[in-house]
C-alpha cells in the first residue's frame, strides 16, 4: 500500500539555523510533491510544489529537493525564525485528478 513517512518527533532548532525535514514515500511514482504549513487551529497552507523533473525548488528562505530514486523529498528552512514554528506536511497526488495523500507532518519549533 502507498505510504508517506515524515519525522514524527518535533524538530527543535535555534533561530538562524537551517531546519531540514524529510518526506519519504513508498509505492508511489508521483509526478510532483507538495509541501504545506499548518499552524495550530488552522487549516494547512500551500507552500511549494516540486515536479519529478526538478531537482530543487526555492521560495524565499525555503528550499525543497526531490529525489525520485530515493523516493524522498527534503524541505529546508534557512535562517529560521520563531515565526517559522509550525507543522509542515508533505502531500503526494494519488491520481491525475486532484486526489492527494498527506503525511502526518513534522512540527518545527524555532527558539530565539
Amino acid at each position: 500500500s502507498q505510504k508517506i513517512e515524515q519525522n514524527s518527533e518535533a524538530l527543535n532548532i535555534q533561530e538562524g539555523k537551517t531546519a531540514t525535514l524529510t518526506c519519504n514515500y513508498t509505492n508511489y511514482s508521483p509526478a510532483y510533491l507538495q509541501w504545506y504549513r499548518q499552524d495550530p487551529g488552522r487549516g494547512p497552507v500551500f507552500l511549494l510544489l516540486i515536479r519529478e523533473n526538478e531537482k530543487e525548488k526555492r521560495k524565499e528562505r525555503l528550499k525543497v529537493t526531490f529525489d525520485t530514486t530515493l523516493k524522498q523529498s527534503l524541505f529546508h528552512i534557512t535562517a529560521s525564525q520563531p515565526a517559522d514554528s509550525a507543522t509542515y506536511l508533505c502531500a503526494l497526488p494519488t491520481d491525475s485528478w486532484g486526489k492527494f495523500q498527506f503525511g502526518a507532518g513534522t512540527q518545527v519549533v524555532v527558539t530565539p
Partner: protein, 116 residues
Amino acid sequence: EAGVVQSPRYKIIEKKQPVAFWCNPISGHNTLYWYLQNLGQGPELLIRYENEEAVDDSQLPKDRFSAERLKGVDSTLKIQPAELGDSAVYLCASSLGAAGPTGELFFGEGSRLTVL
C-alpha cells in the same frame, strides 16, 4: 478574495446526536474536498467532489456519514449518529483540480468536533 469558509468552527455534542458542517469554497473552484484530521496526524480524505458529483467517496463511512454539494458550490457534511471516535477536525478544501497549475489545495480553518 475570500478563502474557503467553514462553519461552525467548534461543535460539542453528545454521542448519538447528529451534526452538520458547512463549507463554502473559493469561487470558481470546481473541486471540493472534505478531510478528517486527528490530532498529530495529517488530513485524511473523506470525499471529493467535481462540481456536484462525488467522484471519490471510498473512505466515507456511509453508514453514518453523508455529504452533498448542491449546485456544485456549497457543501454539507453530516454525521448521524455521532460516535466518540468521530471527535476530530473536519477540514474542507477546494481547488481548480486537474485544471490548476499546481493542484494546490486551499483549506478552510476547519470545524473541530468534540463528541461526549
